[in-house]
């Protein structure tokens, strides 16, 4: 499915934090939102999964306004992995993943065989199939993140919306998760702090600053030395990755961008 964010404006108590953002993800495309803290990435995602109501603009799912769909119906098409972790609740891993079936179920109905298969498949995809009976609260941060992703996969969505899914994951699990997303070939909108991960995963990037998209396009086109200095305030070189050929950003960890340009 195609998802299109059109001229989106979101404001909190009168102050616009996102002002006129357009984002398009074609079917099967992985689109990344990158930008410094507070640039409005998460806010854009939150309107896509209907946690926030836009002040103006629309989110279109195959041309239909997502606000006009009934919430359960929308949740069958769009699954989200927000950053929240919840408090310690006594649910098993399998029960957490079973939540993904919520939009498909009527009141009082239990999980049937096909639900259980979907749940098991989702657990298998994130490598947690042997942990279904464990309490969620006993998992490590990385394991929790993978279980929550399995919950989103169990929603069988056409569009995945992921807010910093690699947070708290060690290097190996980060890479496994990115490989999993690539293999899914599902329409995906994702925020990532790790620009190298974004450059390798995403078909297209939108760079946000202060609630506005300042650059869009293929990672190779967007991630330039000038943009990194101006938007992210970092001094870096962009080279070709020796193994993959993706753009590789080599950060200068000694000098911030301003002092580098002054000198």
């Amino acid at each position: 499915m195609r998802i299109a964010v059109e001229d989106l404006v979101v404001s909190f108590s009168g102050r616009a934090v996102v002002c006129g953002v357009d984002v398009v993800a074609e079917p099967g495309e992985i689109v990344g939102l990158v930008g410094p803290n507070g640039s409005g990435k998460t806010t854009v995602l939150r309107t896509i999964y209907r946690h926030l109501r836009p002040a103006a603009g629309r989110v279109l799912l195959d041309g239909r306004d997502i606000r006009k769909l009934n919430p359960s119906r929308a949740a069958r098409h769009v699954a989200a992995l927000p950053q929240e972790r919840g408090t310690d609740f006594e649910l098993s891993v399998r029960e957490v993943v079973a939540m993904g079936r919520t939009p498909y179920k009527r009141a009082f109905s239990g999980d049937d065989t096909s639900d259980r298969d979907i749940i098991a498949t989702a657990l298998e995809q994130v490598g947690m199939v042997d942990h279904g009976g464990r309490p969620f609260s006993a998992l490590s941060g990385g394991e929790r993140q993978r279980v929550l992703l399995a919950r989103a996969l169990a929603q069988q969505p056409d569009v995945l919306v992921l807010d910093e899914p690699t947070n708290h994951l060690d290097m190996r699990h980060q890479i496994e998760l990115l490989a999993l997303l690539r293999a899914q070939r599902r329409t995906t909108v994702i925020t990532l702090h790790d620009l190298n991960a974004a450059a390798s995963l995403c078909d297209r990037l939108h760079v946000l600053r202060d609630g506005v998209v300042v650059a869009s396009g293929a990672p190779r086109v967007v991630l330039t030395v000038d943009l990194l200095a101006e938007v992210f305030g970092v001094h870096a070189a962009v080279v070709e990755h020796p193994l993959t050929g993706d753009p590789l950003i080599a950060f200068d960890h000694n000098t911030p961008a301003e002092s580098a340009t002054i000198s």
């Binding site: 939150r46 999964y49 209907r50 946690h51 009934n70 919430p71 359960s72 119906r73 929308a74 949740a75 069958r76 769009v78 699954a79 989200a80 992995l81 927000p82 929240e84 972790r85 919840g86 408090t87 609740f89 006594e90 649910l91 098993s92 399998r94 029960e95 957490v96 079973a98 939540m99 993904g100 919520t102 939009p103 179920k105 009141a107 009082f108 239990g110 259980r116 098991a120 298998e124 199939v129 042997d130 279904g132 009976g133 309490p135 609260s137 006993a138 929550l148 919950r151 989103a152 929603q155 919306v161």
Partner: protein
Amino acid sequence: MSSTPTTAVRREHSTVVVGARSTVVALLLTVALLVGLVLGVSVGSTFVPPGQVWSIVAGHLLGRAPAPGTPDLIVWQLRVPRALLAAVVGAGLGLVGSAVQALVRNPLADPYLLGVSSGASLGAVAVIVLGAGTGGLLGLGLSTGAFLGALGAFALVWALARRGNGFSPLRLVLTGVGIGQFLAGLTSYLVLRTSDEQQTRGVLFWLMGSLNGAQWSVVVLPAVAVVLGFVVLQARARALNALLVGDETAAGLGVDVTRLRRELLVVTSVLTGVLVAVSGAIGFVGLMVPHVCRLVVGGDHRRLLPISALAGAVLLVVVDILARIALDQQEVPIGVVTALIGAPTLLYLLDRRLERS
């Protein structure tokens, strides 16, 4: 992929185990409830053998003319309604406790957290002390006063905790606690104003919680309310699970979080108001029962809500028997017994759980 068959077997196995376990627990609790109800009717100042209890109850249920006399009066007019009221109030408190803990996403929440019971207490005490009602102690005037007080407190919390259309868990808790304290202050002031010792005792009994007012006419309304409340909450069991992870997750799963919180707030407050109106604020049941049940059947609300209701019913039926027979001449307020039993049990269970994890 060669491991698929084994995984499938293991998966089926553990799903079955969890499901079977909660079925067994539900059956055990149902049996315990029936036994408790019969014992509750048998035991008291005059002992009526369980066999006789059965025949009297069966006689009434089957519409056969009961043998008139004292046993019939004691069993059918006094003890059966009282045992049933204990079960209904216990079930309601267990149910509301589980729901409120999900509503404010806080395991320390209980049905009285949002100030409803303080409003009920103020209403009841006002009736006793100011003599606004003509009904006797725990009579109709008192329950009406309590329910009106509960509604008043609920209206205050609703008005003050609201932001736009929504209620954040934190605002709800803070507002509820604040209003609860304020109303408790007013209640204390009313109690201090009275010099009548009999009245003061009556007030204390009410504040502790008591099932003294049980009659058939008193049982019906809370029973209907608990059944309706259960149906409404059970229909939202999956949404309650989603709410545990967070509002954003719930929204992403197609739950209208704002509306859900509003519905939960209304259902739990009205139910609490009805329960407190007939029995006073019986403490610890609404806090302890959901915790114990989570330890046994887990936190999935599809199982937790019915099990909490059953367990709450069993607990209060048993505790009411203890409250009636503990002292020779006098009945102990049931809230005193729930606190004395409940607090250590809760601490023990939580401690065991901490050690396990």
